[in-house]
Subunit: 338 residues, 2 copies
DNA sequence: TTGTAGGCGTTATCAG
DNA sequence: CTGATAACGCCTACAA
């Protein structure tokens, strides 16, 4: 495991360690020839400055942490993809943490990150609890934090989100225009910012068209695939909505499965629309009308924002909010039938 | 950004840094009371041992690197999920790198990892080039490496794969039994281990049923969505296969899109089967017959293997090969039609 | 332009 | 059981 270090490289070149070190920094004075000689030799001996020693010395890690609720999810994997790209451009590395929607893990990750491992954090929250105070420790220590998509309203830090209210409004409006009057709203946690905002769009769209709001039609779902399946089957049988609006992708799939089981025809008996980043939504049976968030771009913007904070903390207002537009893409699952 | 350090904590407790340090290591001698007093104070002041200093001192990072071709892919995100879980259990962190199927990036990531950043690497290769020698540097330095799924045959290191040959054989056999005689095999890179092995299963299945192999039916696809679309449309029009077997998920989707465009009916005119980790394959139109790899489990096994190497390098044979079984799940896309 | 020396925060060794 | 000290590898004043 013995990696060559700066001392050995210096000795091999008959130079001092400082000179060698300088060859790897951009700023310092060093003659061009010496620098080239050093870099050539370094390559030959496969020397690379030890990352931990540099970090210890420089007090920064060139690493950012990304915390997401889940990895096996189109939205998050695309967002991470965007973050990774920007990070790579900037010469940063990314650490990935999945909370699995578990509040304890979220707290634990954040705590661990206080040890200097990362220079900043990009996070989409689990939303499982109400005490977010642990995040303020970050602020005290000035570990820059950027939220994306799923945020805590009570924590003041820059965020990248989509126009959730407006897109929910249009989603509900779209269903109404397609003839739905009993529209169920499916949500995982209606207290989490995202569930709340999206619900408000739904409520206001109903109001606009004078459809009374019925809170029986707001269905609280869980993170468990099995539970959702029975919740939804029960709901479809007993409440018999003519439209379903799902606040997260997973619930749209669950709705499809439930409809298959119950032989409910989409879109004839039931129209379905959902937030989703699924790239193959056109291939579903029937193709799914989606509100599609620009997932990769959200990641890109979040990363850009974080790097801006890292470069100059004062250049970014803590209340900064980047809002990107989602797109409503109409497909068969909400088509009018004769 | 000032984090409290061990010195300050020691001073606050009127103890030496060594004693404080001991409270955070498991092995060392220290009285129970002192330890508790230290940990309590540490919590109060929110002290955590600086990760970079520890690493520098201990010469290990408690971090593993995961290199994959792409992130926005069901197989890899599920595999990473599995890796993440095991890593967390072991108290390790994971760094993520996406090569985007770019050989240069792959080489560059590997080189960078020589600086002590990670204690080991779990990797699924891009397969874009033939010179894999750069990986041998790892071996020289003994940076443990585990391959999963997409491997280089010429690099000797432990690997976790699936029974690709057998599952390809059954996939092709399944198509044949459903009445196909002109089966196209779609592949991204037929020289990469995985494309090659899977092709062999296809070829041997044809042979078993005395169907002559026609290399016109082996279709080389690319990583570009657009290019594939036209390649596949051309292929479907000109070669008119009655079955398609795709070696990667993406190509099954591309086939569906092409069929939609050309109004080719699946499964009536064309039967489709593909390697895929898509959880919602049943929801496709028509539902897709898949060979499903145990993606999460592959990640778990790869991580386990790597940790075993980290704990005791000699305990793992470099030729170690963990083979997991994929499952052939029959759905509508390969059904016989009247 | 190059070299010397001290310290980043931690932990292992050794002494008490 | 606890304390002092040196070292991990690197970078930056400062000196030459």
């Amino acid at each position: 495991m013995h990696n060559i270090n700066i001392k050995e490289l210096a000795k091999a070149l008959d130079l001092s360690t400082s000179t060698v070190s300088r060859a790897f920094r951009d700023n310092s004075d060093i003659s061009k020839e010496t620098k080239e000689r050093i870099l050539a030799k370094a390559k030959e001996l496969n020397y690379q400055p030890n990352h931990y020693a540099s970090n210890l010395r420089e007090q920064r890690s060139k690493t950012i942490a990304v915390i997401v609720p889940e990895l096996a999810n189109n939205f998050f994997s695309q967002a991470i993809h965007g973050i990774e790209r920007i990070a790579r451009e900037k010469g940063y590395h990314i650490l990935i943490y999945a909370t699995e929607d578990d509040y304890e893990k979220e707290v634990s990750f954040i705590h661990h990150l206080h040890n200097g491992r990362a220079d900043g954090i990009i996070m989409s929250v689990s939303g499982e609890a109400n005490d977010h105070n642990y995040l303020n420790e970050l602020a005290n220590k000035r570990l820059p934090l950027v939220f994306f998509d799923r945020v805590y309203e009570d924590i003041i830090t820059p965020r990248v989100i989509t126009n959730d209210y407006a897109s929910s409004f249009s989603a509900a409006e779209h269903l109404i225009k397609q003839g739905c009057t009993r529209i169920a709203y499916l949500v995982i946690n209606k207290n989490l910012s995202i569930g709340k905002t999206r619900m408000q769009g739904y409520i206001d769209a109903l109001a606009k068209y004078q459809i009374p709001f019925d809170d029986q039609l707001v269905i609280d779902c869980s993170n468990s695939y099995k539970k959702n399946h029975s919740i939804l089957k029960k709901m479809l049988r007993e409440i018999q909505p003519d439209g379903v609006f799902t606040s997260v992708e997973r619930l749209a799939f669950a709705t499809y499965y439930a409809c298959y089981d119950l032989e409910i025809q989409v879109p004839k008996d039931l129209k379905v629309i959902g937030f989703s980043s699924l790239e193959i939504a056109p291939l579903l049976n029937p193709s799914l009308t989606t509100i599609t968030q620009p997932a990769t771009e959200i990641g890109v913007e979040a990363a850009r924002l974080l790097f801006k904070m890292l470069e100059d903390p004062s250049s970014v207002d803590v209340n900064k909010k980047v809002v990107l537009d989602s797109k409503l893409i109409k497909r068969k699952s909400t088509e009018k039938t004769a």
